[in-house]
C-alpha cells in the first residue's frame, strides 16, 4: 500500500473539475458508481472489526490484480486526520458518511483521481469513475471493466432473482448509481428551478446538492441520479441519462440563459459583474457566499460576458475555497474567521492577477 501525501492533492484540480468535457458549460461532471459486497461475509451492519479488516485486505489484494495496480493510493480513513478526510469529501472522492463513520474503512484513489473504491462504506465496495463533462458512456465502460477485473479475484454476493446484493434493498440488482453534476444558475434567476427539479423527481430521479445525500445545492450545483437499480440493464440506465434526462434539464437551463441574454440583459450583466466586484474586493467571505458568487461568474464566462477571467481559474476556485482545501493550502488549521479572511484574500489574488496562475 502506498502512502498518499494528501496536502499535495490540495494544490491540484482533479480530473472532474477540468471543465473541458462535452457540454461542460452545464454538465460539470459524470459519475457511475457500483455497489458490491463480498460473498461469505455479512454486510457491514453485522461485521466485526476483524471482518472489516479482512474485507479491506481482500479488496486491496483484489485491486492489486487490476490495471490500477501501482497507480493508486490506499488511504485508511480510520487513521487519517479529520482534515484529510474532509479534503477527500471536498474532492468528491469519498462520501460524507464515509468520512464521518467509525471502524476500519478506507478508499483506494487512482493517481489521476478518476477512479475511487470506497471500502467498508454502506457496502463492502463502492467503486466510482468520475469524469469532467458529459462522459457517462466512458465512465460506465471503465467501471464495468474494473468490476470485471475485480471479479477475477473476488466473489461478489449475487442472487438469481435480485442480482448483486447490497446492504440496502434500494441499491440491489445492478448496484449502479449514474449521476451528473449540473450547474443551473440561470434557472434560479428566472425562478424556474423548483419546477424543473420537480419534473426531474417525477422521472424517479434523485436530486442532491454538491456533496451528495442531505446536502444543500450550494453554488447552483445539483447532482441528478437514478433511483431504481433493479430490472433494467446498466446500459439502459446510462442511455436514459444521455438521451433523455440530461438533454431535458440542460435544455431548460439553455433556454433560461437565452431568455436572460435577450430580454433581461441588464439584470444578467448586473448579477455577473456585481458578483465579480464582490469577489475582487471583499475582505471576508463564507464558503456559501463565495460559491454563490463564483456560480454567477462561471455563467458569465460561459455566456461571453467576462473575458478577464478564465474558466480554469473559476473551476479551480470552487475547490480551493472549501474549508479543508484552504487549510491545506495555508499549511495549518484555521478557525471560521481566519478562513473567511484567507478565502477572500485568496480569491482576490487569483482574480486580479489570474494571468500569473
Amino acid at each position: 500500500m502506498d502512502v498518499m501525501n494528501l496536502s499535495d492533492l490540495a494544490k491540484t484540480r482533479g480530473e472532474w473539475l477540468r471543465g473541458n468535457g462535452p457540454h461542460s458549460d452545464i454538465v460539470i461532471s459524470s459519475r457511475v458508481r457500483l455497489a458490491r459486497n463480498l460473498a461469505g461475509y455479512p454486510f457491514l451492519t453485522k461485521c466485526s472489526e476483524q471482518q472489516r479488516l479482512d474485507i479491506q485486505d481482500l479488496v486491496v489484494a483484489g485491486v492489486n490484480g487490476t490495471d490500477l495496480a501501482g497507480k493508486y493510493h490506499f488511504v485508511r480513513l480510520d487513521e487519517a486526520s479529520t482534515l484529510d478526510r474532509l479534503l477527500l469529501v471536498e474532492r468528491q472522492l469519498i462520501s460524507r458518511n464515509h468520512a464521518e463513520a467509525e471502524g476500519s474503512r478506507g478508499v483506494a484513489v487512482a493517481a489521476d483521481e478518476t477512479v475511487t473504491i470506497m471500502v467498508n462504506e454502506e457496502d463492502h465496495l463502492r467503486m466510482q469513475v468520475l469524469l469532467s463533462g458529459l462522459r457517462l458512456k466512458e465512465a460506465w465502460s471503465r467501471i464495468n471493466s474494473l468490476d470485471d477485473q475485480l471479479e477475477q479475484r473476488l466473489e461478489f454476493a449475487f442472487h438469481e432473482q435480485f442480482g448483486y446484493l447490497t446492504a440496502c434493498p434500494t441499491n440491489v440488482g445492478t448496484g449502479i448509481r449514474v449521476s451528473v453534476m449540473l450547474h443551473l444558475p440561470a434557472l434560479r434567476i428566472t425562478g424556474e428551478i423548483e419546477r424543473v427539479l420537480r419534473a426531474a423527481r417525477d422521472m424517479n430521479l434523485a436530486i442532491r446538492g454538491l456533496y451528495g445525500e442531505g446536502t444543500e445545492a450550494m453554488g447552483d450545483f445539483y447532482q441528478v441520479s437514478n433511483q431504481a437499480t433493479l430490472g433494467r440493464t446498466e446500459q439502459e440506465i446510462v442511455e436514459e441519462f444521455i438521451d433523455e434526462v440530461v438533454p431535458k434539464i440542460t435544455e431548460y437551463e439553455i433556454r433560461a440563459r437565452e431568455l436572460l441574454a435577450d430580454q433581461k440583459r441588464t439584470v444578467l450583466e448586473d448579477k455577473v459583474f456585481r458578483a465579480m466586484g464582490l469577489l475582487k474586493y471583499a475582505r471576508t467571505m463564507s464558503s456559501e457566499e463565495t460559491m454563490f458568487l463564483l456560480s454567477q461568474v462561471r455563467m458569465g464566462v460561459h455566456m461571453g460576458l467576462l473575458s478577464e477571467v478564465t474558466l480554469e481559474t473559476v473551476n479551480d476556485l470552487f475547490l480551493s475555497i472549501q474549508p479543508a482545501h484552504l487549510q491545506m493550502i495555508a499549511g495549518h488549521k484555521l478557525d471560521d474567521e481566519q478562513r473567511s479572511k484567507m478565502r477572500a484574500e485568496f480569491v482576490r489574488k487569483r482574480l486580479t492577477n489570474h494571468q500569473n496562475n
Binding site: 459486497n37 454502506e122 442472487h159 432473482q161 440491489v172 424517479n204 430490472g231 433494467r232
Partner: protein
C-alpha cells in the same frame, strides 16, 4: 365519515390492518365491507370475524419476528435501520422484502443485467467436484484403488483452481 370505497354510505366498519409491517386504516360501509371480504356477511358469526382478524395480526407479528439464522438480523430490526445484515437476509425476508423492492424499483423484482463473469464456471466446478467425490466414494467402496487414486488427483487439482 363516508365509506372509502363507494363514497356514498356511512362507514360503519373501521379496520386497522397491518400488512408487511405497515399500518393501514380502512373505513367502509357494511355493504362494501362484505364485498371486500373484511366483514362478516350477516350469517358469519362474530367470533369467526375476530378470529380472522387475530390471525392476520399474528401474520404481521410473525414477519416482524423473522430472524436470519446466519447473521441474527430480524425483519423488525431491518425495518428500523433500512439496512440488511447479510446476503442470506434476501432469502429469509424474501416475502416481505419483495413488496418493498417492487416499490423502490418501479415495479420490477427480477434482475436482468450484468451477472458475475466467473459465476457460471464456479457453479460448474462445484457440480463437477460433487460428482467426482461421489465417484471416489464409490470407487473406494468397490476397492478400485487405481480409479480412486486418479479421482483423488482430479479432485485435488480442481480444488486448487
Amino acid at each position: 365519515m363516508l365509506c372509502q370505497r363507494c363514497k356514498k354510505h356511512t362507514a360503519t366498519v373501521h379496520l386497522t390492518e397491518i400488512a408487511n409491517g405497515e399500518k393501514q386504516e380502512k373505513h367502509l360501509c357494511e355493504h362494501c365491507a362484505g364485498e371486500e371480504g373484511v366483514m362478516a356477511k350477516t350469517h358469519e358469526p362474530i367470533d369467526q370475524v375476530v378470529k380472522k382478524f387475530v390471525l392476520q395480526q399474528a401474520g404481521a407479528q410473525q414477519i416482524a419476528q423473522l430472524t436470519c439464522p446466519e447473521c441474527g438480523m430480524t425483519f423488525l430490526q431491518f425495518r428500523n435501520s433500512g439496512l440488511l445484515g447479510c446476503p442470506n437476509d434476501y432469502d429469509v425476508f424474501k416475502q416481505p422484502l419483495e413488496g418493498l423492492i417492487e416499490r423502490a424499483h418501479g415495479g420490477r423484482t427480477q434482475h436482468v443485467a450484468k451477472i458475475p463473469g466467473g459465476k457460471e464456471n464456479r457453479h460448474k466446478r462445484q457440480h463437477e467436484l460433487m460428482r467426482l467425490k461421489n465417484e471416489l466414494e464409490e470407487a473406494v467402496s468397490l476397492e478400485d484403488y487405481e480409479r480412486a487414486a486418479a479421482l483423488r488427483d482430479q479432485i485435488a487439482s480442481l480444488e486448487q483452481e
